[in-house]
Symmetry: C2
């Protein structure tokens, strides 16, 4: 990257906020996605929307690509820049601008950490439900760009359901304001929901207005252990059929249970095929009724142990089993390929069975955990990227797993995004008509193709 251009960027944000030394570029050369690396030409850290817009305008006139990056927790290579472009690092834009208690909104800059939003609003008895696994390090900007999910998605939906307004800097540096604090707005095309989950390819967020709801008055946490996978799947079906929507309805298979117990020693039995972590929340009476009904359903389906938290410490312990699943799996082998094949809820059992069969076929260790309630599974392959043969088998296995998900009416990614990692699978899902329309939309926002080039399609 030319020194004169680096100086231009430094004149906007200050020289200490433009990184171009080899060590820094190496640090920004990867994100949470295995096997992918690509160091950018420079890293720029604007302090506020105005600096962001000026950086974008400068890059636009120079034809330099821009990739936005929050905390780099992306799992599809979506926050990796290119050697000829810059990474736009949002971590300095981390102010909570306003909490509006009357309209139940919070306005934040993109670099605010997700769990900081949780803490800020829960102190006021308000609630921001989306809780992606990475919430203690991930940023709101990244959550919006990827439409992050989380453990409470079944009842409360995903990030998109809480984005009321966006101020977005487009590729040419122009600001696009969409939505706001009005609950309803149908004036023109819904650019706001189009920008959500656009993975940094249509614009970079300068401000996000999020919807808040009242914090549930009560909550109950349960863990149900099932000797057989089918029993757990039937319990999920019967809970839904009983017209109960738990806030959390999470699943772990035998491989995951074993890794979690070895890592966290939370007392999981090792002789079961599946556990379900179930949480219900709301009015105390409803929570009591729902928990009792769920206990009955799980026992009827043959669960070998049904644990119901009697205090917050025990609730935390039960939830920990699921919260640490990824960390527990990740320590077993050097490389962890975490996928997010997603199916309709009714297909959870056949999908998990198919994943296990495919793991055996290709002689792989795959642990599966995830959001049973919304069909969003995380088959996680424990491997070693230096073993090229095993890696090749893993990719073959995932190709079959994605094809099966599509056959069941599912999708290739429920919450991790397409980025670089899933690009090859997108055409199969959206077809040539879908790809053509998406290409046209990309052109409408970013005719020169400078925003996060090479990602999505």
């Amino acid at each position: 990257m030319e020194q004169s251009f680096i100086r231009d960027l430094a004149s906007i944000v200050g020289s200490e906020y433009v990184l171009s030394d080899r060590e820094s570029l190496a640090c920004y050369g990867y994100d949470a996605t295995p096997e992918l690396e690509s160091a950018p030409g420079a890293v720029v850290l604007p302090a506020h929307a105005d600096e962001l817009a000026r950086i974008m305008a400068r890059c636009h006139s120079a034809g330099v690509p821009v990739t936005a990056r929050g905390s780099g927790t992306n799992l599809s290579g979506g926050s990796l820049g290119t050697p000829t472009g810059i990474v736009l690092q949002t971590s300095r834009m981390n102010r909570v601008i306003e909490i509006d208690k009357e309209n139940l909104t919070i306005s934040v800059e993109p670099g605010v950490i997700t769990s900081a939003v949780h803490r800020a609003v829960e102190a006021l008895d308000l609630f921001y439900p989306p809780d992606p696994g990475s919430m203690n390090i991930s940023t709101i900007g990244g959550n919006v760009a990827e439409n992050s999910g989380g453990l409470r998605g079944l009842k409360y939906g995903v990030t998109a359901d809480y984005v009321m307004g966006l101020r977005t800097v487009l590729a040419d540096g122009n600001l696009l304001a969409t939505g706001g604090k009005a609950v309803k707005d149908v004036a023109g095309y819904n650019l706001r929901q189009l920008l959500v989950s656009s993975e940094g390819t249509l614009g970079i967020f300068a401000e996000v207005i999020l919807k808040l709801i009242p914090k549930p008055a009560a909550k109950k946490t349960m863990l149900a252990h099932f000797p057989a996978l089918e029993q757990a799947a039937l319990a999920v079906s019967h809970i839904i059929a009983a017209r109960i929507i738990p806030s959390t309805l999470e699943f772990m298979d035998r491989v995951t249970i074993k890794c979690v117990e070895e890592y966290a020693h939370v007392g999981l039995p090792l002789d079961v095929d599946a556990v379900l972590l179930i949480e219900v929340d709301g009015h105390a009476a409803q929570v009591g009724d729902d928990a009792a009904a769920i206990g009955e359903i799980c026992r009827k389906e043959g669960c070998s142990l049904f644990q119901e938290a009697t205090d917050p410490a025990m609730a935390l312990q039960l939830a920990t089993a699921r919260r640490v699943a990824l960390s527990a799996l990740a320590r077993v082998r050097p490389t962890t390929i975490l996928e997010d094949a997603t199916v309709p809820r009714s297909c959870i059992a056949p999908m998990v069975t198919f994943i296990q069969k495919t793991a055996r076929k290709y002689d792989l260790t795959i642990g599966t955990f995830g959001h049973a309630g919304d069909g969003n599974l995380h088959p996680t392959c424990l491997t070693d990227e230096r073993d090229r043969d095993e890696i090749a088998r893993a990719h073959q296995a995932f190709a079959e797993i994605f094809a099966a998900a599509l056959d069941m009416g599912g999708t290739i990614t429920g919450e991790h995004g397409v980025g670089l990692a899933k690009k090859a699978y997108l055409p199969q899902l959206v077809g040539t008509t879908g790809l053509a329309v998406m290409g046209g939309i990309k052109k409408a926002f970013d005719p020169s193709g400078l925003l996060n080039p090479g990602k999505v399609f």
Copy 2:
């Protein structure tokens, strides 16, 4: 319209389903929007998706514009065709394709009537919340195209929040499938949410998959009468501040109350400035607690009468007062201009006050009712389109009302769409950058500009 082209269309759907006689065209020359009329060149009624796609392909190759129409309840002129084009009438595509009790979805053709969906799913203890005022005649296709709201929007959201999947026929006759039964899906751009509220300008729906939720176990209906507008607005604020989200929180002003009472004789007192219709639903215990807290808040704010339904018949009677508001207003004068200026919830009182002041300034009768909980107001001007002077004053008044809504951080339309009626206001709201992006999106879907030409922008 050329007879050979009419015959082509008839060869696809059968000659009885292509209307081109003068009487039929006159009938399709208007919708529920006052002052606007435009008869199409022909009306075509396909029986299913395949006929729809073939009609679209034929029109595409002939360069003939297509305007989709459900029941014609549109309030912004969005279902009016052009003399050189056809109106694509969806009423024969009215099958409920499937109710999936495990995945909690219903799949319907676009011509299914909204309240038919309510009846079908409520029989199974399921719930489809969106309930636009026109729900007994409006179609799901129209609801999705306009992103219709309704009285339950505060707690349950609008149509967009329930659209999980769409099969859409594009301008060239190609089918675009987006979304499905998987709860989470972030593969590629969110074309589904872009198609929702696109007002027939991007594609015509062949099938809609809607999300269902469990039917609330209990419900309570209340009506609170307030001597002063400010008291009602404060009650709304304090209900929200008490972390209660009613399913319905509706408002009527003095003009509306008077018209409703004269029309429906439901026992509304004529000496109050505002009534609030409030409904809470959910677990019986929660409903009881919420209703008690709401009663206390309303009394504290000085409500002169607080009615709480003691049985379903009384609940229906209380809700009727609000449900008939539009009909009651519409019978007073020959022409009813129903608008939908929308503001953040906190601005309800200043907005209603501004509307009343503006009505006096221009010597107009404007009754205001609407969704107080979500800031979506319906100032309704009772006028006579033959009185050109009064109509001109009405348009001036609404221009000021929209400007005030925008000043308060609101929008020009909360749920009725832009169509023809709001076109002039759109640039002010979305700006040149927004318009340019929307133009690019239109081009990506419909490069020849054949779908509902002249609408939105």
